[in-house]
């Protein structure tokens, strides 16, 4: 008796790819009713677990189920916003997903086994349970443990998929629960705070501007801390007071080379002190070499690539904002060129065949020769970072693809992933560093010289720079000389720049806001909500000491089209469907910096002035929520516990906010209406 297996992937492209890999090309494609994108692929396959099977492979389009409050709570005037902390939430299939759900339900009737092929991360696990619950309506037997299984895969490469297909595992209920609790919390907290915020402020804004438009002032527990970082930096820059400092520079010419020595104290903010120290140097007249040391040094090759790193580098080197980078990376993953782009892991598993992957890249592309060099003995095991999410390896190229067959943006991201991977598999760059220390008066001065001996990874990774400095003349320890020139100089401190996207991502990451999968969306959200704007950073603002940045060879393609959007349509919170309107994204030149709007500043200042306990714009509340999510995944807490704890925390904040709304209104008057506070 042939077993019938129903496979369901998260997106149509994955379904098609997997079906073709397993079926070896012998696939029959059927349309479904009501939706032109989803197809059912029929083929046979011999699974070790069930023997020869008739397989139907189909997909959903991201989340199948949606959540919202019961009808009686839907209208804003129907209840006090705080009632939403407890209001009943119903789960249903949205209109645009009904055809997809119907297909699943119907197909379920004809099959004995449900095999989930959603992406292997928390959201995917959650979507997997949604699929199971819808399918069970057509075939209740899927609820029994043995009848629903799941595939573990990290990329769409043929051998990898076939391997995954042969070793199914169980759905991870804990991860799914973590997502469910996040969805519930985002809904309750997002809706109650958004209603409260909007109803408190919109009337006064409308009265002031005379507009009738229905502007929603939204709240999100991740958006606000993200906005908080932007506003804080903005205010720091505005409030910055430049201060004068003084330093001592020593220059000595020897063997016709002019060598500059740096003061060990760098610079001081007290002129009298520096004058006195400088005078003592001059009184001493001669300087003595106290140390001459030459030793090998290296510039480390980069760590294996994580999502956060990809987003940061995308912003800095590829002139693509984080959301766009992730969209393009997602496309490359679906086409089977790179591994799953949402990962925190920065270490390669020891058993992975990295050389095989390097071999694939010898086939072409501007890095082919370098890759060949690695195969000829230049290969070195990648560095290991400290993170391993145990779900996916670092982002790496999976197959060789001719760059010209990709779109412009895909080429840039793909090239970065390949070069990064090859750099990881190279040796560190090696050099020789000479350090010379002087004692002049009582003061210590030093200089150093670098000779780059082996570029190694630098040859394939132009995004890092390391160059030899000028040659240093010979100095001997104990040598005494009168410096050619010693002088005092004056300088001024300058303000930091406004926050750039890579900096913002780094801050979010360091403070536990958002996961690798969601950070880009929070950033996109504060743009679409009009809380911040972006603009290119002016070139001159780069400060002294910053290295020359990598410049991409060609200008960026203008931002046309977003792809279908459905494949990534993991509607996180109720209010947002992602898909920024492209403002500032993928700009042509200069790293983008964030400037808050007057509304953004008013919101942050307003909440800040309410006091310590209501820090909605500080990271810690959201960070604690993220930690609780993690606890669910690790089985240390239940969904009910986490929802309860977080609700209580936010309810507390809600009440305090209510009592101090005047602070918010005053901030709006000050910043948005520009009335003198």
């Amino acid at each position: 008796m042939v077993t019938k297996v129903l496979c369901v992937a998260e997106k149509p492209s994955i379904a098609k790819a997997v079906a073709n890999h397993l079926a070896g090309g012998q696939v029959q494609t059927r349309n479904i009713q009501g939706n032109p994108y989803v197809k059912n692929y029929e083929f046979s396959y011999n699974f070790p677990t069930w023997g020869q099977c008739n397989v139907t492979m189909t997909s959903v389009l991201g989340h199948l189920l949606s959540h919202d409050f019961d009808a009686q709570y839907k209208s804003w005037r129907s209840c006090d916003p705080s009632a939403l902390f407890e209001a009943h939430i119903e789960t249903f299939v949205e209109d645009d997903k009904k055809a997809v759900a119907e297909n699943i339900k119907q197909q379920a009737r004809y099959n004995r086994v449900l095999y989930i092929w959603t992406d292997c991360d928390r959201e995917g696990e959650n979507i997997g349970t949604e699929i199971r619950s819808v399918a069970s309506q057509g075939n209740p037997s899927f609820r029994q443990p043995g009848n629903t299984v799941r595939a573990r895969f990290s990329n769409i490469e043929r051998a990898h998929i076939i391997n995954a297909a042969r070793s199914p595992v169980q759905l991870d209920e804990a991860q799914s629960n973590a997502v469910s609790s996040r969805i519930e919390l985002d809904l309750r907290i997002g809706a109650s705070f958004t209603r409260n915020l909007t109803m408190s402020l919109r009337p006064m804004i409308q009265e002031h501007t005379g507009e009738e438009r229905s502007q929603v002032i939204s709240y999100g527990s991740c958006q606000f801390p993200t906005l908080g970082f932007v506003v804080e930096r903005y205010i720091r820059v505005r409030n910055f007071v430049p201060e004068t400092f003084w330093g001592i520079k020593v220059m000595h010419e020897k063997d016709r080379i002019k060598v500059s020595f740096n003061w060990a104290r760098n610079h001081l903010f007290d002129r009298m002190a520096v004058v006195i120290l400088f005078e003592r140097c001059l009184t001493a007249r001669t300087a003595r070499v106290t140390k001459v040391q030459t030793k090998p040094t290296s510039k480390w090759k980069p760590l294996p690539l994580t999502t956060v790193e990809l987003q940061k580098c995308g912003s800095r080197f590829l002139r693509l904002d984080s959301q766009r980078v992730m969209q393009v990376a997602e496309q490359l993953y679906q086409k089977g060129w790179i591994s799953y782009p949402r990962t925190e892991t920065d270490q390669f598993d020891r058993g992975m065949d990295l050389q095989g992957l390097v071999q694939k890249q010898t086939q072409g592309g501007p890095w082919a020769q370098f890759a060949q060099g690695l195969m000829n003995g230049g290969f070195s095991q990648p560095r290991s970072g400290r993170n391993n999410d145990k779900a996916h390896p670092p982002i790496h190229p999976v197959n060789f693809v001719v760059p010209a067959s990709l779109s412009q943006e895909e080429q840039r991201v793909h090239e970065f992933v390949v070069r990064r991977f090859l750099a990881c598999c190279s040796h560190d760059a090696r050099g020789s560093k000479t350090e010379i220390n002087l004692l002049y008066g009582f003061e210590v001065f030093s200089t150093s010289g670098l000779v780059v001996l082996e570029r190694n990874f630098l040859d394939v990774y132009p995004y890092d720079k390391w160059t030899s400095s000028q040659d240093l003349p010979d100095f001997r320890e104990g040598q005494v000389f009168e410096p050619t020139e010693a002088r005092m100089y004056e300088g001024q401190t300058s303000p930091p720049g406004y926050l750039t996207e890579p900096e913002l991502i780094a801050l979010m990451d360091a403070n536990g806001i958002g996961t690798d999968a969601t950070m880009a969306e929070h950033i996109a959200k504060i743009k679409t909500r009009d809380y911040v704007q972006t603009r290119p950073r002016a070139r001159q603002q780069r400060r002294e000491g910053e290295e020359e940045e990598y410049e991409p060879g060609e200008a960026a393609e203008p931002d046309v089209g977003r792809g279908r959007g459905r494949g990534r349509g993991r509607a996180r919170a109720r209010g947002g469907r992602g898909g920024a309107n492209g403002r500032g994204g993928g700009a042509i030149s200069g790293v983008q910096e964030f400037i808050p709007t007057t509304l953004g500043v008013a919101l942050v200042e307003g909440y800040e002035n309410m006091g310590f306990e209501t820090s909605l714009t500080k990271p810690f509340l959201r960070k604690e929520m993220e930690l609780r999510m993690k606890a669910i995944c690790e089985g240390r807490k239940t969904k009910a516990e986490v929802v309860h704890e977080s609700i209580e925390q936010y309810r507390d904040v809600y009440i305090r906010t209510q009592q101090r709304l005047d602070s918010l209104r005053a901030a709006v008057r000050k910043y948005v209406f520009q009335e003198d506070g």
Binding site: L268, F269, A273, S615
Partner: protein
């Protein structure tokens, strides 16, 4: 070792404690001793009395509580900027009136205080603002706001004379966490153009503090730093 039980003789006790304090470079005035003796029980063990006396004396203003002599105070022209360099043997006891970190901009210190006021340094509410860079074994994190020192101190001797001093190298116990009114003993030091230059071997930290001064210093600190940075009041 002094005998455990005091003999209860006020004169002897006074003399013993005075000598002890003088040896610590804080010779008390007669008036101070008299006041002190009136607060103690004479038959308390002498070692305990000495410790108590020192502790209390270190909490006073030495311009009124200690005796002065030419040897124990600064020369009156010590701050003369015309004198390029002079050596002073000491020991000279001083009290701390002000301490400044001149290696950091005033503004970055103001920002650090404000971050603390916003609660960002309390446990569980830390906000990380500087993200470390992964650059290799030679990566020097040039983070100016973290630097500490050198420190410039405003010192006062028993005569009431104000003199500035600066750390040449880091001295244990010197920093912005010092208590105002703390006592130090300086010896064998150099004065360059009116600025005392200090190394660890020149300084003995006696400790202590004057509560009222210290409190005021802490309250005013942010305002003072802002003024020094150049912020005009009434705006900011």
């Amino acid at each position: 070792m002094a005998s455990g039980n005091g003999t209860g003789n006020a004169e002897e006790v006074t003399a013993s404690i005075s000598a002890f304090l003088a040896a610590k470079h804080v010779p008390p005035t007669q008036a101070w001793m008299t006041a002190f003796i009136s607060t103690i029980r004479l038959n308390t063990p002498i070692v305990a009395l000495q410790k108590t006396a020192l502790f209390r004396l270190l909490a006073t203003d030495i311009t009124t509580s200690t005796t002065k002599s030419a040897a124990s105070c600064f020369a009156t022209n010590i701050t003369d900027p015309q004198v390029k360099e002079r050596q002073v043997r000491g020991p000279i006891t001083v009290q701390l009136l002000d301490v400044e970190d001149i290696g950091r901009s005033r503004w970055s210190q103001v920002e650090a205080i404000e971050a603390q006021e916003r609660g960002e340094t309390t446990k569980g509410r830390e906000v990380i603002r500087v993200v470390p860079d992964d650059n290799g074994p030679d990566a020097a994190t040039q983070n100016e706001s973290k630097s500490s020192g050198p420190h410039k101190l405003l010192l006062q001797d028993a005569n009431g004379l104000h003199v500035y001093a600066m750390e040449l190298t880091s001295i244990n116990g010197v920093g912005v966490q010092m208590a105002v009114g703390a006592k130090l003993v300086l010896k064998d030091f150099i004065v360059a153009r009116g600025l005392i230059l200090l190394e660890p071997r020149n300084v003995e930290m006696l400790g202590g503090k004057v509560d009222a001064w210290d409190r005021k210093w802490k309250e005013d600190r942010k305002k003072v730093l802002k003024e020094k940075a150049g912020v005009r009041e009434g705006g900011g």
